[in-house]
Symmetry: C2
Subunit: 344 residues, 2 copies
DNA sequence: TTGAAAGCGGTACCAT
DNA sequence: ATGGTACCGCTTTCAA
């Protein structure tokens, strides 16, 4: 254990190679300046020998660019967001960017705190799944010159680049699919829609789908509650207790969906014999369940990749002007949980 | 859109408040130095008004501490690692640290690259789930004075702090449980053990468990192959085709486990009627499956929290000297997938 | 083809 | 109780 051999600096390399720091800097960064082959090789050799690693802090301070991007999601415990993050990170790393990752836990306070931390750390850009609760801070940071891209949840009024899927159409399509199978009483279980456009859009798509098919949308078949496994079970229970029991249920949130699946099993009912079921996102367990669960899948990795592309454009200033709103299509993954409705 | 209002610096605050930068720095960092109430309040007010945020780069450069920690895992697409990361991040954030997150994809090359990036970024410490393929780099970075904690997979020969669970005992206990249920032919499906102590330990525990019960451990009931869903199915198929079909199967990896579950279902067999099954880690789908799957659960969030505690100790130098190896116990979560063996 | 030197924005020591 | 100022390690003109 040899502590504090003191980390070598560019000065050390320069001295050891008998040149000036400027020359070392130029060689190591492969900048345009011409350097004689011998000098270059000597420098490279010395750097390798000293196990020299440039201090990115110092470089960033001077260059005013950290080659680091901040990413804020609600929680990486949700595989959906993890996948987005991964898609983004892969794209970012390929272009030489690191990422600082933060969770907001869907709490505007934490989101604001993260935003300020990222600003302090001088990130070159920020990708955020916003809670919707601190648009003021987002604006501030953006006005300070930090490019921002909103992911999964955008906001038309904010003039900030965004990447999201077309949730309205996705929900509408799912309803259409159920209608096509012969269902008429189709229920929805959704998280609270206030401030979360994603959820509002899905609900809207659901209603549109019903309307397009000329079906009723009674209040009783719309269970809107905060997202948790327990509430999913609760909602499913309420629906299944209805005198006019729905033939099919659509859940627009992962946690709620888990609750639904559990409640259906708990009652000894089977999909799709007793009730059809379709859910959003496409978690690992959807295909492990028996029967497999039909889902509305999002092009997750692409969302991340597109988000990076947008951000990169702003960072490099190859793209300026008004915000761009990328809307990606979803895919209906048909598995065994949906079928013809039970005969009456 | 008002670009480049030019970010305010400590100089701006100082000028505006009619004091020197030193005073501002002292006030904003709540350092010991005495400052008159008026001055302090004036400074705070001006800072707020200018929406001033200190440049963490500059501070880090001077203070030689970034209050940032690097985290390297194999992949955040695996919820097991995500949970560890989250546990770690929560602890870290509470103590004022941000985290830079990187994936190695179980590739030593990428791991090395990440390590060097983190070094360049002057992180105060590193937490790593190592591939085992670049201990040299890890040593180097550590010798340069960067505290490192190894998580999930340690290495006795490296004198580096580590946090892991007692995989040997966990596997042994699981086998003991199966034996207690009356099973005699107990098979294992494991990932390749070379260079991955975790897996080797689980295999070892399996063998010990059998030995303790006086049972044979024929080669044919030990399926060792690279981890993938397909291989899980393949391995399960081989076992189920055996003339002396195993009464119980233990899988020590998540992907392999998925394959096993699928293969069992594909053959129209049922757990635990036809075969009992126990697996490692406790993914979300284990309890959603019907029947619920018995698992060896790890105290995931605690692993992360303990890792931070170890690292923090090194960073603050409140702990010096030899490496510490924290070993946490696992829990056997009994669900429906294990039962008495089929009568012959 | 190379070197000297002025910063980047804070921090912390030494004065006053 | 406060100010002056030399750094931290690198980049980047400008000069040679």
């Amino acid at each position: 254990m040899k502590p504090n051999k003191s980390v070598p600096t560019i000065q050390d390399v320069a001295r050891e190679a008998g040149v000036s720091p400027s020359t070392v800097s130029n060689v190591l960064n492969q900048r345009s300046r011409q350097t004689s082959k011998e000098t270059r090789e000597r420098i490279l050799e010395v750097a390798r020998q000293l196990n020299y690693q440039p201090n990115a802090m110092a470089a960033a301070l001077r260059r005013r660019s950290t080659r680091t991007i901040g990413v804020i999601v609600t929680t990486i415990l949700n595989p959906f967001y993890t996948a987005i993050v991964r898609g983004f990170q892969d794209a970012a790393r390929q272009h030489g960017y690191s990422t600082i990752l933060g969770n907001s836990d869907d709490d505007p306070g934490q989101e604001r705190e993260m935003l300020n931390t990222l600003r302090a750390k001088q990130v070159d850009g920020i990708v955020i799944v916003t809670t919707g609760g601190c648009h003021d801070t987002i604006q501030q940071v953006r006005d300070l010159g930090v490019p921002i891209v909103m992911v999964d949840r955008g906001d038309p009024g904010l003039n900030i680049d965004s990447v999201a899927v077309d949730n309205t159409r996705a929900a509408e399509a799912a309803v259409g699919y159920l209608v096509g199978l012969g269902h008429r009483r189709i229920a929805i279980i959704s998280g609270l829609t206030s401030g979360v456009p994603t959820r509002a859009h899905r609900l809207q798509g659901y209603l549109r789908g019903l309307q397009a098919a000329g079906l009723d949308a009674p209040e009783s078949s719309q269970q809107i509650m905060s997202t948790s496994i327990e509430n999913g079970s609760l909602a499913a229970g309420r629906l299944l207790d209805l005198p006019d029991r729905p033939m099919a249920i659509m859940a627009t949130n992962n946690l709620l969906s888990i609750g639904v699946v559990q409640e259906i099993r708990r009652r000894g009912l089977q999909m799709p014999r007793d009730v059809s079921f379709v859910m959003f996102d496409d978690p690992e367990w959807a295909c492990l369940h028996s029967p497999g669960i039909t889902t509305v899948a999002q092009p997750i990795q692409e969302i991340g990749a597109r988000a990076f592309a947008l951000l990169e454009g702003r960072i490099q200033k190859t793209r300026t002007g008004d915000a761009e709103a990328v809307v990606l299509p979803t895919t209906l993954v048909m598995r065994g949980s949906c079928g013809a409705p039970p005969k009456l």
